[in-house]
């Protein structure tokens, strides 16, 4: 993948739901998931976004966007964090 960006998530119970939300929010992108057990790298080319509403749908509970920090061990690219979404991006 050229210019991959996205979160690196530490082991947690919500991993599958978070990955599903990221896939749902980026329907036209190839989202690659690399599982290294203690951490999972989720990445797509140039840009990746996840929205709070989508995370709530997949988690089945209220979710504040800042809560993602608890499992966000690292990320590739730059970050833009808001109340309703987080975007990872990198100019090629």
């Amino acid at each position: 993948m050229r210019n991959p960006v996205g979160p690196v998530l530490r082991m947690n119970d919500d991993m599958d739901a978070i990955i599903a939300a990221i896939r749902a929010d980026n329907p036209n992108k190839e989202v690659e998931v690399i599982d290294r057990t203690a951490y999972v790298r989720v990445q797509a080319e140039d840009e990746l976004t996840v929205r709070r509403a989508t995370l709530e749908d997949h988690l089945g509970r209220p979710f504040q966007m800042h809560e993602l920090e608890r499992v966000l061990s690292s990320f590739a690219g730059r970050i833009e964090s808001g109340t309703d979404s987080i975007r990872w991006y990198l100019a090629a």
Binding site: A38, Y39, E69, S73, R78, T83
Partner: protein
């Protein structure tokens, strides 16, 4: 009642600044502490962190992280998990705790320098969170290590190490004082959050967590990956600082990144390299140090720095080539000088382990195999004294690591030699050209006497191995020895089984 979105009030709350009436701004933010350099004060006011968080959000997250980390610790305390850990793997712990715990404390001071002398109010706010983060990391690391002191006194070095002159600690102190304590706020932001925390700490805190989990060490994996969630946030202080610096003084930005990257790479080659390729039990090794460096540094970090318009560091090829050499040389040295460390180095060169090394590093046997063969022969002949040091290796005046560890004996491109520099009638020695270049340009922040220089100038008495060990603070109950008491060498008494090879 609906709450306002953070975006609607955050900038007003976090961008509150003083209007100075009785002092000049230069007096409040002196150049030697703030380091605005060629960028005027006004330029720094555009500083805007990309990873935003309010104080209530910060507290809520940190509370949850702490609860999760200590819940696992409490649970495992009642189990026999620790007793079942491999002795080689425990050395990963011990090296980590000693080398890292009080550097987390040092990082509090670096963050506080940015919290006071950072050139924008938003920056100063973020740095306060950074200081609180580092306080958490210090406490967490010391608390996790402290629990094991009753089983093994080497864990006491989590707190003790930086209060000694142990040679690895002297090397680490030279690096961290050089880029975290001595510089001004702008230089710290480029060197610590942008270069070290955005790049290298991922290796020790995220990639190593994968090895930890495979090795059955859930507690350590949980702790270090929890710490890195803080780093991922406060490391973002580097990005807006770099953006401003790139507009006004790109040469300075390039130098700061180049210098810190090289020195960090040298230190991680001794801290993380042996942990991943030698101390992690073979059955649990999935990826090599070189592969993790490829993933985290060569791919992820390099893309980040080039996206800001920075060039690859001038020594890039030498760094890449070093991934086949440095940590193997350093591991060999640490094992040979094992009484001088506070952990038990696992040699990691059984026949099966050598096959693994060869599969990851095709030139390993050519460069290092014959040296280990000689050591193994001495071990099996009962000549343990021939596998132990009688003095110290010559050390690099910049990275403080042994001369020859950026090289290997049969390596034509990077042979074992000293790169010298005459200055004011004194000959300085360096492991590599980049270390020599860094010392020459930044000798005001990188100048620390090596252990060898201390030995030769009479600071270590008596100048014997015993005297050196005493100077380093190593007592017999703590000094390192082979993790498996040489049992791994026994298979070499017999010729290799052809079918199995």
């Amino acid at each position: 009642m609906a709450r306002m979105k953070r975006e609607e009030w955050f900038d007003i709350a976090s961008d509150v600044d003083w209007t100075f009436k009785f002092v000049d701004r230069e007096a409040v933010f002196p150049e030697w502490m703030s380091g605005k350099g060629k960028a005027p004060f006004e330029a720094w006011l555009s500083w805007d962190e990309p990873y935003k968080i309010s104080y209530p959000e910060y507290v809520a997250n940190q509370r949850e992280k702490e609860t999760a980390a200590f819940a696992v610790k409490s649970l495992l305390r009642r189990s026999k998990t620790f007793d079942q850990l491999d002795e080689g793997w425990k050395s990963v712990h011990k090296a980590h705790y000693g080398a890292v715990a009080l550097i987390e404390f040092l990082a509090i001071l670096s963050e506080l320098r940015m919290a006071r002398f950072g050139l924008a109010p938003k920056w100063r706010n973020v740095a306060v969170f950074g200081a609180l983060d580092e306080l958490r990391h210090t406490q967490l690391t010391l608390a996790f290590a402290h629990e094991h002191i009753k089983e093994d006194p080497q864990y006491d070095w989590a707190h003790k190490a930086y209060h000694t002159n142990e040679w690895g600690i002297v090397a680490a102190r030279a690096l961290f004082d050089g880029f975290m304590m001595n510089p001004n706020a702008v230089d710290i932001a480029i060197q610590l959050p942008f270069t070290f925390e955005t790049g290298f700490t991922n290796m020790q805190f995220v990639a190593l967590a994968a090895d930890a989990l495979e090795s059955g060490d859930l507690n350590f994996a949980n702790m270090i990956s929890s710490i890195q969630t803080d780093e991922a946030r406060h490391a973002q202080q580097g990005h807006p600082t770099l953006e401003i610096l790139m507009k006004h003084d790109p040469d300075r930005a390039q130098w700061l990144v180049d210098k810190t990257f090289w020195l960090s790479a040298r230190l991680f080659a001794i801290l993380t390299g042996p942990a991943m390729d030698y101390y992690t039990p073979l059955a649990q090794r999935r990826h090599s140090y070189k592969e993790f460096m490829q993933e985290w540094i060569i791919e992820q970090y390099l893309r980040t720095i080039t996206s800001y318009g920075l060039k690859k560091p001038w020594y890039w090829q030498e760094f890449v080539d070093g991934l086949d050499t440095w940590h193997h040389s350093l591991h060999l040295g640490v094992w040979f000088w094992r009484p001088t460390v506070w952990w038990k180095p696992q040699a990691g060169v059984s026949r099966a382990e050598r096959r693994w090394l060869l599969s990851k590093y095709p030139d390993w046997e050519q460069h290092f195999g014959w040296i280990w063969d000689q050591l193994i022969e001495n071990v099996n002949a009962g000549r343990i004294d021939k596998t132990l040091p009688e003095t110290l290796p010559w050390l690099c005046n910049t990275c403080q690591l042994p001369i020859g560890t950026a090289a290997s004996p049969s390596n034509e491109k990077y042979p074992i030699r000293s790169y010298q520099l005459e200055h004011d009638g004194y000959t300085y020695h360096f492991c590599s050209k980049p270390c020599r270049q860094i010392w020459w340009k930044d000798r005001d922040t990188q100048h620390m006497k090596t252990i060898v220089e201390r030995l030769l100038t009479g600071e270590i008495n008596p100048p014997t191995v015993e005297g050196i060990l005493g100077y380093m603070g190593l007592t017999p109950d703590v000094m390192g020895d082979d993790a498996y008491k040489y049992r791994w060498a026994e298979e070499y008494r017999e010729p290799p089984k052809q079918a199995a090879e």
